[in-house]
């Protein structure tokens, strides 16, 4: 054991001398009386997500599954985005023909400089939290490495209606296995990059993507 570790642990033990030796962690009771599971479902849940994520200056649109390809095309058009990063596992039949997809796969990952030059990224997500308008990425299929949704200035994220949960506790529970079993990195995204550092005025866009579009896909 390192000397420092030894000494810090010793300091802690002497600082806690009033704590009974047989006290267990759980003896300090934690009452989880807060709301863990929401009570919204279906339409109300989707509406809440659309409303809350929209409040962060993200552009949010509800669409049907069969409109997906067309809507991706329209969204990219609006941002004049052609060279789009496509994470491994993303369904290619959703991709519009005019796009120049830049595939990132583990065998041949795109370099940081390459990513920096591209117009945007299209990804799916692991979950979405309605109460806070948050999308959660777990680096799974269709989402890829963390850097993909970070360097390009435009992020188009596809959320299935059945991926929306109501509360923050449900969001954390939903990716718990990915962390515990696989140690995957988790990223919460709530609107585009922002800062309030100047006179506490919120400004969209500093280092992360300055434009965030969300397509909420039903049916």
């Amino acid at each position: 054991m390192s000397k420092a570790k030894d000494e810090i642990l010793h300091r802690i033990q002497s600082a806690l001398k009033e704590v009974p030796a047989d006290e267990k962690r759980e003896d300090v009771a934690v009452n989880r009386e807060y709301i863990q599971k929401g009570n919204l479902s279906g339409e109300e849940l989707v509406t809440l997500f659309v409303e809350r994520s929209g409040e962060y200056q993200a552009t949010v649109k509800r669409i049907k599954k069969e409109e997906l390809k067309d809507e991706i095309s329209k969204a990219c058009d609006r941002h004049k985005a052609i060279k789009m990063v496509i994470p491994a596992g993303f369904k290619t039949d959703w991709l519009p023909d005019l796009l120049e997809p830049q595939f990132d796969d583990s065998g041949a990952p795109l370099s940081h400089d390459e990513l920096d030059q591209l117009d945007g990224v299209i990804s799916t997500c692991a979950l979405a939290v309605a109460q806070t308008g948050t999308i959660i990425l777990d680096a799974g299929a269709g989402q890829g490495r963390r850097v993909l949704s970070l360097l390009p200035d435009y992020h188009l994220c596809i959320v299935r209606e059945d991926q929306i949960v109501e509360t923050v506790p449900e969001g954390f529970a939903g990716v718990s296995d990915q962390v515990k079993k696989e140690g995957r990195p988790i990223t919460f995204i709530s609107g585009p990059s922002a800062t309030s550092d100047i006179e506490l005025n919120r400004v969209e866009g500093v280092h992360g993507p300055r434009k965030l579009d969300i397509l909420v896909v039903g049916g």
């Binding site: 420092a4 642990l9 807060y34 920096d116 963390r146 709530s190 309030s196 506490l200």
Partner: protein
């Protein structure tokens, strides 16, 4: 012998007279205060969340040794390295050594008060390593060669015109306007190049999870994601109190923190990483666990709750003292009410500056009301005042013991013990005040009390006390 920092009283006056600062701060704190109240107000279970947050932290503190060992094991199992640092110097040595191994002379940093606390940037500089702050406000402070004045918004004391002038000069951007959008854009362009070439990133940690080894960084701008994702090596410095027991507990803290801090339902970005992920992000991860006085705080049963702090800064934003003086008057990287209790416990009350901080409060209690982890700041302030006075009685200099407040309170304590003595003291004060009474009021007092009369009149003590009236009435 510890270094003596200036006292709060000595410094506050200069800041109080800075009208630009007062205006910037008043505007900023009131804006965020109102927003916080709204966003917290929409949570029907807020009090339950506060209570759970408080208890989870209490659980961690009472079993800190076992939780730290669990965290260490989890991080190592996930492919990370764990280092232990007893104090700032040891932490800086570890970090500097790790950076030098990578043979770089520049590192990118996420805003971290813990690294400010240990003066990491200075330590790196001595070894020829430039630490680049990437948070917009920290960048402003770094470019201005200034000190942070707020936990969350370190450049809260500067307005947009001041920032524009700074960027015009330091980022060599002569045409820059003072629109916040343009200022942010200037920072984006300047830092993007740096992020792409950085080999080493340094971060603090908002939370470390004992059972999974996950570290969390909570932020808005994306610079945190850049620093924790792009470099090949990531070094995270974490105070030993930043632990939470399990992944599930984020469901409490990640509701409490954003709403209390930036008054948002959720802040734009939260990064949670667990050791090293092959093919994604840094392939070398070091976690430095820092004590640097925290175990002293732990040893004080009343003061211990200070370690619950999740650095949201809600207490600063509601504090009527902080609002007027700003953060610099506290002479610490931890300003405001939380700083007033944390700094003296970390530094020790032998330092005059640190010992003045528990008195930099009117005990109004607004801080406790908003604290998301229910730190009873006023109670800890009063507790620390008690320790300071006890220390003065034991080891104080003759000068300290002849201090008028000390003498006055001792004398009054004697008088209050017995109602006869107390009545005599009342009479004495009635007579004694006569030389100060003019036109039915007291407008000037000497010495210790002059602070009062400089700006406030004092009503003279009436001829008849209440008890005299009662006695006469019933005779």
């Amino acid at each position: 012998m510890s270094r003596q920092t200036p006292t709060f009283q000595e410094t506050a006056d200069a800041y109080l007279n800075n009208t630009q600062l007062r205006e910037n701060l008043g505007h900023a704190t009131h804006t965020i205060r109102d927003k916080r109240a709204d966003i917290v107000g929409e949570m029907p279970d807020w009090e339950h969340l506060r209570e759970a947050g408080n208890k989870l932290k209490k659980r961690v503190m009472r079993h800190l040794d076992s939780y730290l060992l669990q965290l260490e094991a989890s991080v190592q199992e996930a492919g990370g390295h764990v280092h232990w640092a007893r104090d700032a110097e040891e932490a800086n040595d570890i970090i500097t050594g790790l950076v030098k191994q990578q043979q770089v002379d520049e590192v990118v940093k996420v805003k971290s008060i813990t690294t400010d606390e240990i003066k990491l940037n200075e330590a790196l500089k001595k070894e020829g390593i430039q630490a680049l702050e990437t948070d917009l406000a920290e960048l402003i402070v770094q470019l201005a060669e200034d000190e942070p004045s707020h936990i969350l918004v370190p450049a809260i004391h500067k307005n947009r015109k001041e920032i524009r002038d700074l960027f015009r000069e330091k980022l060599n951007n002569k045409e820059l306007t003072d629109r916040p959008e343009d200022l942010a854009e200037a920072a984006r362009l300047y830092l993007r190049k740096k992020f792409l070439s950085a080999k080493v990133g340094i971060s603090g940690a908002n939370f470390g999870v004992a059972d999974t080894g996950t570290i969390a960084v909570v932020e808005s701008e994306g610079n945190g994601r850049m620093c924790t994702t792009l470099p090949e090596t990531l070094i995270t410095v974490m105070g030993i109190e930043k632990l939470i027991p399990t992944w599930q507990d984020f469901e409490v803290f990640m509701q409490l923190l954003p709403r209390s801090s930036t008054a948002e339902r959720m802040n734009p970005y939260n990064s949670f990483w667990t050791g090293v992920t092959p093919g994604d992000g840094p392939q070398e991860f070091h976690l430095v666990l820092l004590d640097n006085g925290r175990t002293n705080v732990l040893a004080d049963e009343v003061g211990r709750q200070t370690l619950n702090c999740i650095r949201c800064s809600a207490c600063l934003n509601v504090c009527p003292v902080y609002e007027r003086t700003g953060g610099h008057a506290y002479h610490s990287v931890y300003p405001g009410p939380i700083g007033a209790i944390l700094t003296p416990q970390l530094k020790g009350i032998e330092d005059d500056g640190a010992a003045s901080l528990p008195y930099a409060s009117s005990l109004c209690g607004a801080c406790y009301e908003v604290c998301p982890v229910k730190i009873d700041i006023p109670k800890v302030l009063v507790h620390l005042r008690g320790k300071i006075v006890d220390e003065k009685k034991r080891n104080g200099s003759l000068k300290a013991k002849l201090d008028p407040e000390h003498v006055g309170l001792k004398l009054m304590a004697q008088a209050f013990k017995n109602s006869k003595r107390y009545e005599r003291a009342q009479k004495l004060a009635q007579t004694g005040q006569n030389i100060f009474v003019k036109d039915g009021k007291i407008s000037s007092l000497p010495g210790y009390l002059s602070g009062w009369s400089a700006m406030r009149d004092l009503k003279p003590i009436p001829k008849e006390t209440f008890r005299e009236w009662w006695r006469n009435r019933n005779e």
